[in-house]
């Protein structure tokens, strides 16, 4: 586990949790065929929370956050995002996807479009933003992730770390209110992990509501206000980072932490 490159100070002035509910998951269940992958998930995320979800491989972390923007369909229980309930109604799904950004392990940039086109596509077609305005926004976010000079290259010409930062910028261009991260750094070489984590820290400092599946425990300690541990499709333990790492209660959590932090 690579710790963050340098111990920078984190500005916590805007990292405040409000009373407003961003995501509410109630008794949610999901099956793949007959395989019960998520079991009775209850989770309430307030606006401004930074939640890290950890757990062994196959425990259902990806499936959980992919249910939040309906990339996977849940079969039982309720998911309410920003006051809109996820149902089979396509209008609700579209609405939620516009408000929720997602960053994937393998970036999922569009290789046939330039970086700038990757960033402006959804604002132009989904939000109906005029092209010029969309391009200005895109350049703004490219500067934020520190690669404005790459705007006219193609994804295939960028390093992994750069691609992941483009992917984050692409989500931000839609001005989402909630960001989901599914192992954003686990496909990256160690020296590139820090640059992506720095971008994510910056986002947290601006008060973004974030749900991150990650094994970067340094990031969790520093940025998260809550760490959730999942195993076998259920939430086994959740706590503030200090308590979670220093004083885990459930034996499964203890085993996981000893494996991941141990040696």
């Amino acid at each position: 586990m690579s710790e963050l490159a340098e111990e920078q100070d984190i500005d916590r002035s805007k990292m405040t949790v409000s009373d407003e509910i961003a995501v509410e998951i109630i008794k949610m269940n999901k099956w793949y065929g007959s395989f019960h992958v998520l079991r009775d998930i209850d989770l309430t995320v307030n606006r401004g929370e930074r939640i890290v979800i950890a757990g062994p491989s196959g425990s259902g972390k990806s499936t959980l956050i992919r249910c939040i923007n309906a990339l996977e369909e849940h079969q039982k229980g309720r998911i309410v995002v920003d006051g809109t309930e996820l149902s089979s109604d396509l209008k609700n799904i579209d609405k939620i996807r516009r408000e929720v950004g997602m960053v994937f392990q393998h970036f999922n940039l569009f290789p046939h479009l330039s970086i700038l086109e990757n960033l402006t596509l959804a604002p132009i077609w989904v939000r109906k933003t005029p092209r010029k305005e969309a391009e200005e926004t895109a350049m703004h976010f490219l500067e934020k992730v520190k690669i404005p000079e790459q705007a006219h290259k193609y994804p295939g010409q960028l390093s992994g770390g750069q691609q992941q930062r483009v992917a984050i910028a692409r989500s931000l261009c839609m001005r989402p209110r909630i960001m989901l991260f599914d192992e954003p750094t686990s496909a990256l070489d160690p020296e590139m992990i820090a640059e992506v984590l720095d971008t994510m820290i910056e986002l947290a400092q601006e008060g973004m509501t974030m749900l991150c599946v990650t094994h970067e425990m340094g990031f969790a300690r520093k940025v998260a206000n809550r760490v959730i541990f999942m195993d076998e499709g259920q939430i086994v333990e959740q706590n503030e980072p200090e308590e979670f790492f220093n004083n885990p209660q459930n034996p499964r959590t203890q085993l996981f932490l000893s494996q991941i932090l141990g040696h």
Partner: protein
């Protein structure tokens, strides 16, 4: 440069090595030949044997093809010319007079000769209409409006008749769109599309006939009509080929999407169509077009034979195209769909902006193979009596002047087909290079 040597032997470079030319054996013609043709003994033997074979074939063809018979007007005259050139003995050589005399026919069939300018104009305009599609980076996009109008200009130039007919067909799309807009204000998507289709069909099948007659009576603008049975030669092959190619790509895309659709009925219909059409030889479909179809038509309807053939060849090409494109779709990583979904793009936006551009690019070699196959398959229409170049050869060889001619005719036709197919193949290589966007 903190190599491991640093710990064992101290070393620091004081002069840098300048850029040098590579050794002779690896560059230039000699270097190339050495590397590619004579690198091993086996390679050298293969090279020599291949050269010998090429020489042998050329030694047979070239003297035969270079033959002073261009001006001859019958096979016996050819023989006389060749014998004279060979000092009295019967000579060996091609008889090109048949091409000189019949090439116009091979190009246009029995299309009236004073109207030949019309197919010529149609094909020149075809080039103009294709330019913005084929060379989108070099041609102004405004030309696409002409491309949209071309499907109505093309049949009018070839078949002639009143200008109101193609205009009325075009108007049908407007009528459909209007109906769609009106209904979509009060009803859902599916219903609006249905209303649009019904309105367009009503226009085309019922109203359009009266409107065209009325307008043609009032303002008689038109071209001299030409009958389908006068169509022939490469003009016919290219017409069938171009229409089938141009229509099969969009239809194939829809069918490929249908085969992957979540809607059960759409999926089964697509699979059924593809498997049925692919399971039947094209020639069978052509026989259906030429004979069976008339049985099902109300008596007296005149359903143009070329139109029937066009529909059959298009359906055939569409089924193959759908499978080629499905291959491209399957090759796309799931992440591309998820990326598009997570940004809130709807199904058709994701298909048009993300999925299809990539799937089609992957499928370019297969698509062009299908195009080439369709174009060559147009020669099958000679079997149902249409006068494509192969159909015309029968008539030419039955002519007493040219009785006995074989190689010259088929060689000429093969050459023309080769030029078209080879151009398509080269274009596809160009397109793949142009669409290449960096390492994978």
């Amino acid at each position: 440069m903190s190599g491991t040597h640093a710990h064992t032997v101290g070393f620091t470079r004081d002069t840098m090595i300048p850029q040098a030319d590579p050794p002779m054996t690896s560059v230039g013609a000699i270097g190339w030949a050495h590397k590619n043709l004579f690198s091993t003994w086996f390679n050298a033997i293969v090279t020599v044997a291949s050269l010998a074979l090429i020489f042998y074939v050329l030694a047979m063809i070239v003297p035969w093809a270079i033959s002073p018979t261009w001006e001859s007007s019958s096979l016996s005259e050819c023989r006389d010319i060749l014998a004279a050139a060979n000092g009295g003995e019967s000579g060996h050589g091609a008889c090109w007079g048949v091409i000189r005399e019949r090439w116009v026919q091979l190009m246009f069939g029995f299309y009236p000769s004073h109207l030949h300018w019309r197919p010529v104009a149609a094909f020149i305009l075809l080039g103009v209409a294709l330019a913005p599609v084929l060379f989108s980076d070099k041609v102004p996009a405004k030309l696409l409006y002409f491309t949209l109008a071309y499907p109505f200009i093309f049949p009018w130039l070839l078949w002639g008749g009143t200008i109101w007919a193609p205009l009325s067909v075009a108007a049908g799309f407007g009528v459909g769109y209007l109906a769609y807009r009106i209904v979509s204000a009060v009803a859902g998507d599916l219903l609006s599309v249905l209303a649009g289709v019904v309105a367009a069909l009503v226009w085309w099948l019922v109203l359009s006939g009266y409107v065209v007659d009325a307008l043609a009576g009032l303002i008689p603008i038109g071209l001299e009509p030409v009958q389908s049975r006068d169509f022939g030669g490469f003009m016919l092959s290219i017409t069938i080929g171009v229409v089938a190619i141009a229509a099969s790509l969009p239809l194939g895309v829809l069918l490929a999407l249908g085969r992957r659709s979540d809607l059960l009925i759409v999926r089964y219909l697509s699979v059924g169509f593809i498997e049925f059409i692919r399971g039947v030889p094209l020639i069978t479909l052509l026989f259906v077009a030429s004979t069976l179809l008339n049985i099902f038509m109300p008596p007296g309807t005149d359903f143009d034979i070329i139109l029937r053939v066009l529909i059959m060849v298009t359906l055939f090409a569409t089924a193959y195209m759908a499978e080629v494109i499905r291959g491209g779709l399957a090759a796309l990583p799931k992440g591309q769909y998820e990326g598009a979904d997570s940004l809130g793009l709807n199904y058709w936006q994701a298909q048009r902006l993300i999925i299809m551009p990539q799937a089609l690019k992957i499928s370019i070699p297969g698509i062009v193979s299908t195009f080439i196959g369709v174009f060559k398959d147009t020669t099958l229409v000679s079997i149902i009596g249409l006068m494509d170049p192969l159909g015309l050869t029968n008539g030419i060889r039955a002519d007493t002047n040219w009785n006995g001619i074989v190689w010259e005719l088929y060689g000429f036709i093969a050459l023309v087909f080769f030029v078209f197919c080879f151009s398509m193949s080269r274009y596809s290589m160009y397109l793949e290079r142009r669409l290449h966007t960096g390492r994978k």
